[in-house]
Symmetry: C2
Subunit: 199 residues, 2 copies
C-alpha cells in the first residue's frame, strides 16, 4: 500500500530530482508546500513557468538574462578590454560577489568532456571568438580546476592566441583560511607551482 | 545591479521559502530547474498544482489522502480497536515504515500551543472523540516529546478516559544505537523513568 497518494508521490519525485535534495528533504518540502494555501501553491508554480519563459541568453556574453543584452554587457562602466570566460551562469554570480572583476563575461555553458560526449562545438566558443577584436586585450579563463576545465582552458588558449589576445588562467591555490594539513594534493601542487615572490 | 533577472530572483525566493532550503541551495535548485526543457518545467509546476488540488483529508483519520476514506482506514486487515494519534501526516509515514503498528491513525494537524495561539478547537480532536465507540480499546498518543506534544497528550487523556478507552503514550528513551554520553538530559530522564524489568 502506498504511503501517500499518487499525486503527492509524484510531487516528492519531482523534488527528489533536484540537485542536493534527498528523499527525506523532498518529502518535507512537498508536505510543506501542500500545507500552503491554493493561491500560494499556484503562485509558486507560476513563478517557475514565468522564470523559464522569460529566460533568454545575452547575445553578447551568453549569460542567462531576460534582456537581449544583459545588464553587465550593457553597463558602460565595465571594462570592455577584458573577458572572463566561465563554465556556468552561477560562476558569474560568484565572481560578481567577489567584487574583484570589472570586465565582462563569457559563459560557455559547459566544458569539453569526451567522456560525456561534449565537444568544443557544443560550447559557446564560436560566440567567444566573434567577440575578439582590437579592443579586447585579455581573456581570463575561469573554468574549474578539473580535467575538463583544464582541457577547455588549453583549447581556448590555442584558439585565441593567434588572434593576438592575451589568454590567462585564474590562480589556483590554497583557499583563504585553508589549512595545509587538510588541503588535497592537487590544490597544494597548484599552490606551490603558482607561488609568488614576497617582500 | 541585480545579479539575475527579476523572474529568476523570484524563483530563488520561492525555493528559499521552503523548509531546510538555504539561499545557496535555492539558487542551485533554481538554476538547475531553468536548465531543464520547457516541458519539464511545466510538468513540475503542474505536478505541484495537481497534488494540491487533489489533496483532501480522510473523513475518518484526517490524514492527507486523495480519497474520501484513506487506504489505511479502508484496509480490512488493520486492527480497528487501536488508534494511534499523531501531530502530522509525516508521522504516519514514519510509523508505517517501522512496520510495528497495525491499527489505524488519527492526525491532529498540530498540537496545543498557547504561545502560537493554537487551541484544542483548532485540532482534529472533535473528530477523534467521534471515533470512540465500543470497538476502540486503546488510543496511543504519539505526539512529540515537546511541551506542546506533552500538553496535547495530557489533554487527550483527560478527554478520552471518561469514555472508557485506554489512553497510552509511546515510550521515550534512548534511541537505538544512542550513546548515553551524548544523550540530552530530558531523554535520559525519560529513559530512566520508563525503565523496564529485564531477565
Amino acid at each position: 500500500m502506498a504511503l501517500y497518494s499518487e499525486s503527492v508521490g509524484a510531487l516528492i519525485e519531482k523534488f527528489s530530482s533536484l540537485p542536493g535534495v534527498g528523499r527525506k528533504s523532498a518529502q518535507r518540502v512537498a508536505f510543506h508546500l501542500l500545507s500552503l494555501s491554493d493561491e500560494e501553491v499556484r503562485s509558486f508554480a507560476e513563478t517557475m513557468i514565468r522564470a523559464k519563459e522569460t529566460l533568454c541568453y545575452c547575445k553578447v556574453c551568453q549569460n542567462m538574462s531576460d534582456k537581449e543584452i544583459c545588464d553587465i554587457c550593457s553597463d558602460p562602466n565595465r571594462d570592455r578590454s577584458v573577458i572572463c570566460v566561465v563554465e556556468d551562469p552561477r560562476d558569474v554570480i560568484s565572481i560578481e560577489r567577489s567584487m574583484e572583476f570589472r570586465g565582462r563575461y563569457h559563459v560557455l555553458h559547459g566544458v569539453i568532456s569526451p567522456s560525456k560526449g561534449i565537444k568544443p562545438d557544443d560550447l559557446k566558443l564560436r560566440e567567444l571568438v566573434s567577440r575578439i577584436d582590437g579592443d579586447i586585450k585579455e581573456v581570463i579563463v575561469a573554468t574549474n580546476l578539473t580535467v575538463e576545465g583544464e582541457t577547455t582552458a588549453m583549447y581556448i588558449a590555442k584558439l585565441l592566441r593567434p588572434l593576438g589576445v592575451e589568454v590567462t588562467r585564474i590562480a589556483h591555490g590554497l583557499p583563504v583560511g585553508g589549512d595545509i594539513i587538510y588541503a588535497d594534493e592537487i590544490t597544494l601542487a597548484k599552490a606551490l607551482a603558482g607561488r609568488t615572490r614576497i617582500g
